[in-house]
């Protein structure tokens, strides 16, 4: 039992410290380690990956939490998620200390601005990547409508309601048509 928890902590820390790029990068790594370390087969991990995507919250955290839950119940999931988040949190806590060191302190304003603009670029790239992956024109149209609504200052919960109405309504409409046909 203890060995199981130690494995969860060890793998959680390793994944948290070594995976850059979120769940799409973490998934193959978890798929590789699950059979040997946790006696889970790859198809079980595939199922948990699908669940991780449809759950609210960060998908990487959900996937790893679901794997750990399967292996060692709720205590395992808690330990696993804490271990996964620990490395990045420690880095985040330590990074501002660097800004107090001589040359870095003198240039911290410019460095911060450079980092902020790099973030703008990364965020833009994430959005464009999402567009590239859309397979249907109606998804693109929905994204454009939501973008305009957001730019007009409409709250994101209202935008979410629009999504529910558009997609849910379309699905219900199609199922009714299927029944009547």
């Amino acid at each position: 039992m203890q060995n199981r928890y130690l494995k969860i902590i060890g793998h959680g820390l390793t994944l948290g410290a070594s995976v850059f790029g979120g769940v799409s990068v973490a998934y193959p790594a978890i798929r590789r380690l699950a059979p040997s370390s946790f006696d889970l087969n790859e198809s079980e991990v595939d199922g948990l990956y699908a669940f991780a995507y449809i759950l609210p919250g960060p998908s990487f955290l959900n996937l790893w939490g679901a794997v750990c839950m399967r292996v060692a119940g709720l205590p395992g999931a808690i330990l696993g998620e804490v271990a996964l988040l620990l490395p990045s949190t420690l880095i985040v806590l330590l990074l501002p200390q660097l800004g107090r060191i001589g040359w870095l302190a003198a240039h911290s304003g410019g460095m911060g601005a450079g980092a902020a603009w790099a973030t703008v670029g990364l965020t833009l790239a994430a959005g464009l990547d999402g567009i590239r992956k859309m397979k249907q024109r109606k998804d693109l149209l929905a994204a454009a409508i939501l973008l305009v609504l957001g730019a007009l200052g409409i709250h994101s919960m209202a935008c979410l309601a629009v999504v529910l109405l558009l997609y849910g309504g379309a699905a219900l409409w199609e199922s009714r048509r299927g029944v009547s046909a």
Binding site: G57, A66, M69, L85, V92, A116, A143, A144, L160
Partner: protein
């Protein structure tokens, strides 16, 4: 402030179907547009998150740290774990075939354009909030192009920091 931060992250994480970008957009709206953080501070915090390994949502504790120091980081982190654990527990109670229903599938598909629109909106708002400097825009465009060619986010952030240190 800590309680508000906790509740804000908790509510955003609870409906963040579509991943970390939906939480990002919500935090930008709640914190930057309400004046609790400047667009610059928000951008720096997200950059810190991007430069660290682990889940993409590592920017959440960075934002907490920016607002209220180490305590803020931990307070911002807790709701992410709580929502994830609650979701994992609840999902075990739901029958498997429920996820094959067309209505749920359609709604989940709708989360993709939702996340895309919010992400692009955040990029635009951060750019406007950072003052639309020509060199900054150049950094952003090069960063977006580099990401398209799969350059790791951490390398892009470090390059942005280096250019910013000398020229901004």
């Amino acid at each position: 402030m800590l309680l508000k931060l906790f509740l804000t992250v908790l509510s955003l994480a609870s409906y963040s179907f579509g991943g970390a970008s939906v939480i990002l957009a919500g935090l930008e709206r709640e914190l930057v547009q309400s004046g609790q953080l400047s667009a610059h501070q928000f951008g720096v915090a997200v950059a810190m998150g991007n430069a660290t390994p682990g889940p993409l949502a590592a920017y959440v504790p960075a934002i907490g740290q920016m607002m209220a120091g180490p305590t803020g980081a931990l307070v911002a982190l807790a709701p992410l774990i709580l929502v994830s654990l609650a979701a994992i527990i609840l999902i075990r109670l739901v029958p498997r075939d429920w996820f094959d229903r067309p209505l749920l599938k359609a709604i989940l598909r709708g989360m993709v354009p939702f996340a895309v629109a919010l992400t692009l909106l955040v990029a635009g708002r951060l750019a406007v909030g950072s003052g639309l400097q020509p060199l900054g825009i150049m950094i952003a465009l090069v960063a977006a192009g580099a990401r398209f060619f799969k350059v790791p986010a951490v390398a892009i952030v470090l390059a942005g920091i280096t250019v910013g240190a000398f020229f901004l």
